[in-house]
């Protein structure tokens, strides 16, 4: 993903209200190229589409909107696995994490999600956050 697109994603994300974020998750991933569509894998990875997929196909439930992780799902970002690593895991997992077949989430979809995860900036140091100091 190029720098311009990355900046665009951040701007778009900052403009979305919390409510809009949730509502965005209700919409189809992208008009004319639903998750799993063969056409999706033919395009260059799109962080914008990856974010929509991330919110829409279930990743967000356990990993959070920024891939920060929860007790139900590990942290994915910053420094995410490459798309190939993510695909290899989600095709074969038999843990609490549900597997995603290529029929449902193509390699192109996974590449888009990986592109989105790469846009997530590093976290602040907890020492810079008053509520996390001195614990």
């Amino acid at each position: 993903m190029n720098a311009k697109l990355s900046s665009l994603v951040i701007v778009v994300a900052s403009l979305l209200s919390a409510d809009a974020v949730v509502r965005a998750a209700e919409r189809p991933a992208a008009a004319g190229s639903p998750a799993g569509s063969p056409t999706a894998s033919q395009a260059a990875p799109s962080a914008v589409r990856g974010r929509q997929l991330f919110l829409n196909v279930g990743c967000v439930h356990c990993h959070g909107t920024q891939g920060q992780g929860t007790t139900a799902g590990t942290r994915l970002a910053p420094d995410p696995l490459p798309a190939e690593g993510i695909a290899a895991f989600i095709r074969s997992t038999n843990t609490q994490m549900p597997a995603y077949s290529a029929k449902l989430l193509s390699d192109g979809d996974v590449a888009d999600i990986a592109a989105f995860l790469r846009t997530i900036p590093p976290a602040k140091s907890p020492d810079q956050i008053p509520a996390l100091r001195g614990l």
Binding site: E26, A35, G58, T65, P98, A99, K103, A123
Partner: protein, 671 residues
């Protein structure tokens, strides 16, 4: 990073190692119940209504109080219904006597929604009894009433009563009773009913009467009775209270027949309130305890798993003593707050590795021990043991001392090596004494490096949690880490208690137990143990009512789905001036079900983008701050910008410190 400061729970008493059973039950049993409780002084005889005693034959399948019974019960022929309903001078009525019985047990509150089947008792509580000890707490739903009694017990350490209206009221109450049953919480349920068909005035009087009203909840109450005389009511009520408070503690149900409530009692002195015999909890067999101690002392990698152990400060203090004596890590499943979270032997973060490497595991009041030592996979419904070959397992609990078969809350059978039936808290003194007696110099030398290793692991886990909390810190919706840690900053200077997090602390990724300082047994009360939604808010209100008189600051992290089941409890908090800070975890959906539906869709290879259908609460989004405001509760939000959270919480804390409830609505991440 903070560390274990050796607070209250680490202090050793002068009776260290000795068995102190005399004081064990002081928190739940009421001392001083008298053999004959006098009538309430100053109660006006003309204040209460009365009806004639029953004279009709009994209905099919049941035995209502007959005229002869009533006459024998009150020491004189039952009075006919007067034209005015007034009680004769110097006389009393059945429900006044019932209030005397309730007062004798020190029950401070009766949680209830009004109903005609207990009109007499309601009137006696507020007039004859002066609406004090017990005070009538107005609830919006019987489910809330029982949930409040549940939360109240866990904070106060003594039971409250829930008063329910016959058939429909008990139907409403049923789920909350099941939660209390699964949580081992004594709730004294009182149920109105009109057994004598000739006293039912048609319509709802019939629909709201039953031959055996407790039948529908009998699978999850420990004991029940439908007494037909006032003397029988007194004995059954005191007996039921005792049964409820004997481990395993559970709810009980006593029917207060409407005719018994209303019968005139010309000679109150003829009725006696039995003395409460305070039960001593059962202690584990001495030989079995000695064997358990031998295994634990010899173990190289012992682990203690604890769930519903600490009812009192003694429970936490004794657990710390045992863990320190053995240098054994503790995994606290936290249906009660058993282990201080800043103690170096609090090792929840290492639970999987510890169980996998253990050579001896001790389970203390763990309901699902099998679930702790086995790993399940929901995808293929398989399971495998987490234990290495040869690991010895010990349990000390009261789980099998009282059990029913229909509802399956008893969990899967655990084939442990040494199962000791006995109350965990009551058995700990003997276990500690025996452990200490068996530790020689060699074992003591081996324990020292073990403790240091756990001290290091504990510090590393706290730091890892602190680092993790920073991820997504500025996200909108607000991260659950930020929700919990801004809340911690707002309350940590108070004598706080996290009275509810709904059905699971996992819904907020366990941030409180990962980073707050739970250093007292009352800091946390566990969750709705039966998993019945609608527990969180009313249980928090009940607990906050108890904490009000104990000077504790009550905090409730409230899931939105749970809130919508029983939000009338907010009005109860406002009406009764119950100080409670509620912080909404408003993720606009049923998060757990969304995840489960997602997983199933994936396994079925279809519809991975439809998991929000039927699980989302977002179209339209609910404004919880406005709902709270409409019920007279101070509120703020909905907050979507995390930078606004700290200020809102600060204002809310000030409101609560002035004695009022407050609610802060925070739009959050899923978990």
């Amino acid at each position: 990073m903070g560390g274990w400061q050796g607070g209250q729970v680490t202090k050793r008493s002068n009776t260290t190692g000795r068995i102190d059973r005399r004081h064990f039950f002081s928190a739940v049993a009421v001392a001083g119940a008298t053999a004959a409780i006098p009538a309430v002084a100053g109660a006006s005889a003309a204040d209460a209504g009365v009806t004639a005693a029953a004279t009709a034959p009994p209905p099919r399948g049941a035995t209502p109080p007959s005229a002869a019974q009533l006459a024998a019960d009150v020491g004189a022929p039952p009075a006919p219904a007067s034209a005015t309903g007034a009680i004769a001078a110097g006389a009393s009525c059945g429900s006044d006597f019932m209030v005397d019985v309730i007062k004798s047990l020190g029950i401070d509150y009766i949680f209830s929604n009004p109903g005609s089947s207990f009109l007499g008792l309601h009137e006696s509580i507020v007039n004859y009894g002066g609406n004090k000890a017990p005070e009538f707490i107005t609830c919006m739903h019987e489910e809330s009433a029982v949930a409040m009694a549940n939360g109240y017990y866990k904070a106060a350490g003594k039971p409250a009563a829930a008063l329910c209206h016959s058939t429909v009221g008990l139907q409403h109450a049923a789920m909350a009773l099941y939660n209390a049953w699964c949580d081992r919480v004594p709730v004294v349920t009182i149920l109105g009913n009109t057994l004598d068909l000739t006293k039912r005035m048609g319509g709802n009087d019939w629909r709201h009467s039953a031959q055996d009203p407790v039948a529908m909840v009998r699978d999850f109450v420990k004991w029940d009775d439908q007494p037909t005389t006032l003397q029988g009511f007194a004995e059954s009520f005191v007996h039921g209270y005792k049964i409820a408070c004997t481990p395993p503690m559970e709810p009980v149900a006593i029917v207060a027949d409407s005719e018994l409530q209303e019968v005139e009692v010309p000679d109150r002195a003829a009725l006696q309130v039995p003395k409460l015999s305070t039960p001593v909890p059962p202690q584990g067999d001495a030989n079995a305890v000695r064997e358990a101690a031998r295994w634990l002392v010899a173990a190289e990698r012992p682990v203690i798993i604890v769930d519903r152990l600490a009812r009192t400060p003694e429970g936490m203090r004794r657990l710390v003593e045992l863990a320190e004596a053995l240098a054994a890590p503790v995994i606290d499943l936290a249906s009660r707050q058993n282990m201080p979270t800043l103690h170096p032997l609090y090792q929840n973060a290492q639970s999987r590795a510890l169980i996998a490497q253990a050579d001896v595991i001790l389970g203390l009041e763990v309901t699902d021990f099998w679930g702790q030592v086995n790993q399940v996979n929901r995808n293929d419904k398989s399971s495998r043991s987490r234990l290495k070959p040869g690991t010895k397992t010990i349990t000390i609990d009261v789980n099998d001392l009282y059990m029913k078969s229909n509802y399956q809350d008893f969990q899967r059978y655990a084939p442990v090596d040494l199962a000791i039936s006995g109350d965990g808290e009551a058995t700990l003194p003997a276990l500690i004494e025996t452990v200490r007696a068996q530790i020689g110099a060699e074992r003591r030398a081996a324990f020292a490096p073990r403790l240091e290793r756990f001290r290091k692991l504990h510090a590393e886990a706290r730091e890892a949690a602190r680092q993790s909390a920073a991820f997504g810190w500025d996200a909108s919706p607000v991260s659950t880490a930020r929700l919990c840690m801004e809340l911690w900053q707002a309350i940590k200077a108070e004598d706080w208690a996290l009275v509810s997090v709904g059905a699971s602390e996992g819904f907020v990724s366990n941030w409180p137990h990962r980073l707050w300082n739970f250093d007292r047994h009352y800091r946390y009360l566990g969750v709705g143990a039966g998993g019945g939604v609608g527990y969180g808010l009313p249980a928090a209100v009940g607990a906050a009512l108890a904490n009000r008189s104990l000077g504790r600051f009550s905090v409730n992290i409230q899931c939105d789905g749970d809130f919508m089941y029983a939000n009338g409890a907010l009005w109860t908090a406002a009406h009764h001036r119950i100080p409670l800070l509620t912080v909404m975890h408003n993720n606009r959906g049923y998060g757990q079900e969304t995840m489960l539906l997602q997983g199933l869709s994936n396994r079925r290879n279809r519809g991975i983008d439809t998991a929000r259908i039927g699980t989302e609460i977002n179209d339209p989004p609910i404004n919880y701050a406005k709902l709270a405001e409409g019920m007279g509760v101070w509120s703020a939000g909905p907050i979507t910008d995390p930078s606004q959270l700290a200020a809102a919480l600060k204002r809310a804390v000030e409101v609560v410190k002035k004695g009022q409830p407050a609610l802060v609505d925070v739009v959050t991440q899923t978990r």
